[in-house]
Structures are given as C-alpha cells and as structure tokens.
C-alpha cells in the first residue's frame, strides 16, 4: 500500500552492472518505500533477474556504476551476509540443494545470526521449534520437510515454498522474489501468495520479479515496472500488468 510520507527503504540510482564482462544493467532507477509492493516485469534477458542478484550481492555480478542505498546504507559496500542482516532477503529463482544440512538447522542458524545482529537473544532448539511450527503453517508445508536436507529431493513447488518459509522465519524489511511464481501450479502459487501477503506490513516491502501477470492476481502490486534492455522503461499501477498481459511487451521495447 502506498502511504504518503512513509520512509524510503531502497533507492537505486542509475545502476549499471555486468556479468563476465557483458553489461546487463544499463542505468536502473527504482525507489521502494515501506509498505509498498512492486512488480518488475519483462521478457527473458531484460535484466530483471540480474537486478535482483546484484541487489543481494551475487559475486558473479560486478557493479560498474550507480548507487543503491538501503535504509540509508550504501548497499554495495556490504557483503551479501551483511545485506541479509540489514534486512534484505532474496527468494531464489533456482533454490539451491544442500545435502547434509537439515532445513531446520539452516533456519535456526540463519534466524539466530539475525537475532544476534539485532541485539536479541538467540533461540534454543526447543524455542525455535515453536516459532518454525507457526511459520510452516503459512506455507502449508509438511513438518517432515524440516528434518530433510535443504531442498534435496524437493519438487519445484516445494523448493519455492521453502524459500517463502525462510522469508517468513527471517522476517526481512525488504523481500525480493526472483521469479518465485515460475514453474508453480495454481495451488502452489496460491500458497506462496498467501505466505507473502501474510508477511506484508506497513514497515516492510516486497519486490516481485516476474515474467507473468498471473502472480499479480494474488499479490496485488502498488507499482508495476517494465524492464527492457537493462533499464526500467515504463512504470505504472497494477493496470499496467493487465495491459502487458493483453498487448505483450513489444510496444514498450526500446531497441527492438
């Protein structure tokens, strides 16, 4: 929801970035305030996934120009873990399998790392169990998934729900969902959306990177941005997504 005067969480100015020497982002500008839901849409190769990875600090991507401030901090001066501790969360497009590390152990380790950062007490395994049992209901996940290795043998939908579970436990200030809807059937999509909606509050914000309008039926954006050729070429309200659905992307493309 847009609230006049709510504080700026993320401010990206003229961001340029490259991977393996190829420039992908060519001057991205974006401002996200507390309480808002943003959608970034675009065709494959438009740079939208690169944008989310650059914000989270993926080491394969090099920032070559521009700035990003997150709650007043220079985001690019922070290591990925420091960004997470500052309250930034990336839900991965392709969640990683980690054999030998249980889901519950990872969640507790990550949660307690953030608690320490916030100057709060760590939770012992029993206390944490109570917390995670609450959160797991949000994503309608079977508790047996907690004792399994992270994402190992999970279906595509289960992996995405697991990302949302991590988000629910870590309660970030800004969540970036990188194509969280891709590969989901309608039930999984509904569950993921329910999870995201339940976490929305006036103090935090969500940026959804998506190819399709479908997710936006469930998580209603305040702003829709269209990315093309490494820039945001159009910004509108939720009706822009519907227009894209009807007309495609070609009419907006800069360098077709």
């Amino acid at each position: 929801m847009i609230n006049k005067g709510s504080k700026i969480l993320l401010e990206v100015k003229n961001l340029r970035a490259e991977v393996a020497g190829v420039e992908i982002l060519k001057g991205v500008n974006l401002t996200v305030c507390a309480g808002e839901v943003h959608a970034i849409m675009g065709i494959n190769g438009s740079g939208k996934s690169t944008f989310s990875k650059v914000l989270a600090g993926h080491p394969d991507y090099a920032v070559t120009g521009g700035t990003a401030t997150f709650e007043g901090k220079d985001l690019f001066a922070l290591a990925p873990e420091a960004r997470a501790r500052a309250g930034l969360f990336l839900a991965f497009q392709y969640p990683v399998e980690i054999p030998g590390v249980s889901n519950s152990a990872l969640l507790r380790l990550a949660y307690n790392t953030l608690q320490t950062e916030r100057g709060l007490e760590e939770l012992d395994p029993l206390e944490f169990e109570d917390l995670v049992q609450e959160k797991i209901k949000v994503v309608e996940m079977d508790p047996s998934f907690l004792s399994r290795s992270v994402n190992e043998g999970f279906s595509g939908g289960e992996k995405k729900r697991n990302e949302i579970l991590q988000m629910a436990v870590l309660a970030p200030r800004l969540a970036i969902l990188d194509e969280t809807d891709s590969g989901l059937d309608i039930d999984a999509l509904r569950i993921v959306a329910k999870g995201v909606n339940s976490l929305l509050s006036p103090g935090n914000a969500v940026v959804m990177v998506t190819h399709y309008q479908r997710l936006l039926n469930y998580i209603v954006p305040d702003y829709v941005h269209v990315m093309d050729g490494g820039r945001i070429v159009r910004t509108g309200g939720k009706e822009l997504a519907l227009e894209l659905e009807a007309r495609g992307y070609d009419w907006l493309r800069v360098a077709a």
């Binding site: 991965f92 030998g100 380790l109």
Partner: protein, 433 residues
C-alpha cells in the same frame, strides 16, 4: 617441542627404530617376534619408487630419531575423559601399554572377551590368529610393530554384543620423539555381532610415531562394524595397517576417519574368503595446514557372489595433501561379484592437493563393477545462498564442508562419537587455513 636432528637419514631413522626396546614373550609369540625382526632388519622404509608409496612423502618422518618407550606413563581419568564413549566396553592403552585402571569391562557380557593381548597369550584362539593375517614379512612397518609391540587388544566375539568396544590408544606427553606400537586382534565367531572402535588420540603436540597393526577375522555370518578414528597430535606420524579376512555370508563394515597427525597412512586389506560376504568401506580424510593423509585400501574378492560398496572422501585445506588409492581385485573364481566404489573429494584451497586412484582388476566376466571419482570445490551457488541468509562466508564454507564430511561420519553407529567428531570438525575448520 623437540628439535628435529638435521643429520638423520632415512636409513639412520630406520636403524634407530630397529634398536627399539626388545620385548620378550613366551613360546609361539617369541618365534613370531624374532621372525618379524629378522625380516625388518632386511628391509627399510618403503621407497618412493614403490607404487604403493609414490604419492606419500615420508621425508618429514625420516628427520626424527624415535626412541623406544622404556617407562610407561600413568594416565589419569581426567586426561581421557573427553574421549570416553558412555556405555562402551573400554580398553585404554598409554603409548601402547595396557592401562587396567582406566579400562572399563563392566559392560562386557557373556558373548565377548575383551582383554589385554599380553595377558591372553595362552589362549589357543590368539595363538591361532595372531600374525597370520598382517603381512609382517612384506611390510616393514608391520614387521616393526610385530616385533616391538608391548601389548594390544584381544577381542573375541561369540554372540551379539550391543555395547560398542572402544579401544582408546593414547599417546602421552613425551620429551623426545617416541615410537609406539598399538596392536589389535579381533576374532568374530560365526554368531558374533559387534561394533569395535579403534581410537588413536594424542594428548599434546609432541612428535611421535604411532605404528599400529590390526588383524580381523570374521567367521561365517559374523557381522562387524569397525570404526577407526585417527585423531593423533598435530606433529605426530601415524602409520596403520589393518588386514581383514571375511568368511561366508559375513558382513564387514568399516568407517575410517583421518583427522590428525602431520603425516598419516592407513592401509586396509580386506580379503573375501567366503561366498556371499559383504564388505562396506567408508572413509574420510579431513586435513589442513601441511598435513598429509594417505588411505590405501585393497578389496580382494576371492570367492563367488561377494559384494563390496566403498565410499571414500577427502577434504584438503591449506597446503594439505590427501591421497586415496582403492584397489579392487575380482579373482577368477569370484563369479557374481557386485562391487561399487566411489571417491569424492573436496579441495578447499588453491594450494591443497588430492590424488585419487581407483583401480579395478577383474579376472572373470560374470561381475558387476562400477567405480568413479570426482574432485571439486565448495559449490559457489550454495555458498552465495547461505551468505544471502546471513551466514558469514567462513561459517557458510564450514557448514558446507561439514555437510560433505557428515555423510561419512553419520555412518558411525555410535551417537556420542558422531557428536564428538562433528564438533571436532566444526571447531577445526577455519583454524588452519
């Protein structure tokens, strides 16, 4: 710490070991000791040109003048406390000498004999098996052990034994470099089932050579979980040899963990002597700094329908060097053999090195044998994922490394040992980079 003498040569080092304290025994054992000494005198340390030793740099071993232990140390309970496995049948050896007061045989029921070898030389089973399996006529380290060992463990299992048998070999604090000779003989009778943990630990950073020999015999249908933990002191040298003979339909499962020592070598020879025997070998070497850890295994399928499954992992950080050589021989008569071997390796630094050598020698057509080896680094995507959840890079690397090791550690069916090893591994990583 004692300074290494710069004047020692490989030959002098070996000569010095041959001057060890002579241990006298009665009758049959004295003959074996003399035979072993004669063979040792005709040998030297293995040559770097020897195919089984060409990757293993023993030169740092040769720098030292290892003295025999004349007066054995008395350990206190406090010194071994952190190694104690609750509920286990425990034998403790201080520098190769049996410590009755720290051993605990209260859990040993009717189906098992656990005792000092030196005290049971009159047992016909001991005489019939000792020195019959480990190749002291061919291997100079085995020969030295067979001549100079002070005492050892005798384990005779006739029923199912639920309490694990813990053999705690402690190297104590010494002023000068010392040579110690742990020894173990295990005979599993046809209805025997047991878990035996050989545990090699060092109490301080002193230089010593632990030269260990174990012989294991499984009669038909016997089952043994054989755990071996090498966590010697960081300046120690550990050379271990284990020979196993597995009878018809027996099940031998070994899990060997190498964490300690400056230079370590573990040689494991398993001979499938009876039809339908199963052999499971799990191994893990996790080393850093300038450590060298070498594991050489040989599975010799000699009779039909044997099964062997092997998984060995090496993790090398710093400028450490891990070596794995795993040979599987399927003889002409061993029809219907089913064998799988996998060597998986993790390099944690640019200076670390891992050599892996899976070898299959098959002399009949009716077999199923698979083997494979991989060497990789920490997965960059997994590392970024964990960092994006707030873990420091170091913490994330340690977690991933531990997870890689955990697959082997988890195969040890002694929960308190799994826990203590996991803790050791998590503490050790990030230390010596």
């Amino acid at each position: 710490m004692t300074q290494a003498s710069t004047t020692m040569s490989k030959e002098q080092c070996f000569e010095q070991l041959l001057l060890g304290k002579s241990v006298k025994s009665e009758g049959w054992l004295e003959q074996i000791r003399e035979d072993a000494l004669e063979h040792a005198q005709a040998m030297n340390f293995p040559s770097a040109r020897h195919d089984d030793w060409r990757f293993t740099d023993l030169s740092s071993l040769f720098l030292h003048d290892f003295h025999p232990i004349i007066t054995f140390a008395r350990l206190t309970r406090a010194e071994i406390e952190k190694f104690v496995i609750p509920g286990a049948i425990r034998l403790v050896f201080a520098d190769g000498c049996y410590s009755a007061e720290l051993s605990d045989l209260t859990q040993a029921g009717s189906g098992v004999t656990v005792a000092s070898l030196a005290e049971r030389l009159g047992d016909q089973k001991v005489a019939a098996n000792f020195g019959r399996h480990a190749p002291y006529r061919q291997d100079s380290f085995v020969a030295l052990n067979t001549n100079f060992f002070e005492d050892g463990a005798w384990i005779h299992v006739t029923e199912e034994v639920t309490a694990p048998v813990h053999l705690l070999h402690v190297a104590t604090k010494r002023e000068a470099p010392s040579a110690i000779y742990p020894r173990c003989l295990v005979v599993m009778e046809s209805t025997g089932r047991a878990t035996v943990v050989e545990d090699y630990v060092g109490l301080d950073d002193g230089i010593y050579l632990s030269n260990a020999v174990t012989e294991v015999v499984l009669k038909e249908h016997a089952q043994l979980q054989h755990v071996r933990v090498q966590r010697e002191a960081k300046n120690a040298f550990h050379i271990g040899h284990c020979s196993v003979e597995s009878g018809r339909n027996s099940d031998y499962s070994a899990t060997s963990i190498a964490l300690g020592a400056r230079v370590s070598r573990h040689t494991l020879h398993v001979t499938q002597q009876g039809e339908g025997a199963e052999i499971h070998l799990n191994g893990l070497a996790l080393i850093a700094g300038r450590q060298i850890a070498d594991t050489h295994t040989l599975i010799n399928h000699g009779t039909p329908r044997g099964k062997s499954v092997q998984l060995h992992k090496c993790i090398a950080d710093g400028s450490a060097h891990a070596i794995f050589s795993g040979k599987i021989i399927v003889n002409e008569g061993a029809v219907g053999t089913d064998s799988t071997q996998s060597s998986r390796n993790l390099l944690l630094s640019d200076k670390a090195r891992i050599d892996t050598q899976p070898q299959l020698e098959i002399f009949n057509d009716d077999v199923s044998c698979k083997h494979g080896a991989t060497v990789g680094q920490i997965d960059a995507d997994a590392l970024f994922f964990l960092r994006s959840r707030g873990l420091t890079e170091e913490r994330a690397r340690n977690l991933l490394t531990h997870a890689f090791a955990a697959e082997i550690i988890a195969r040890i069916l002694v929960p308190s040992l799994v826990e203590s090893l996991s803790k050791t591994i998590l503490e050790r990583m990030g230390g010596e980079r």
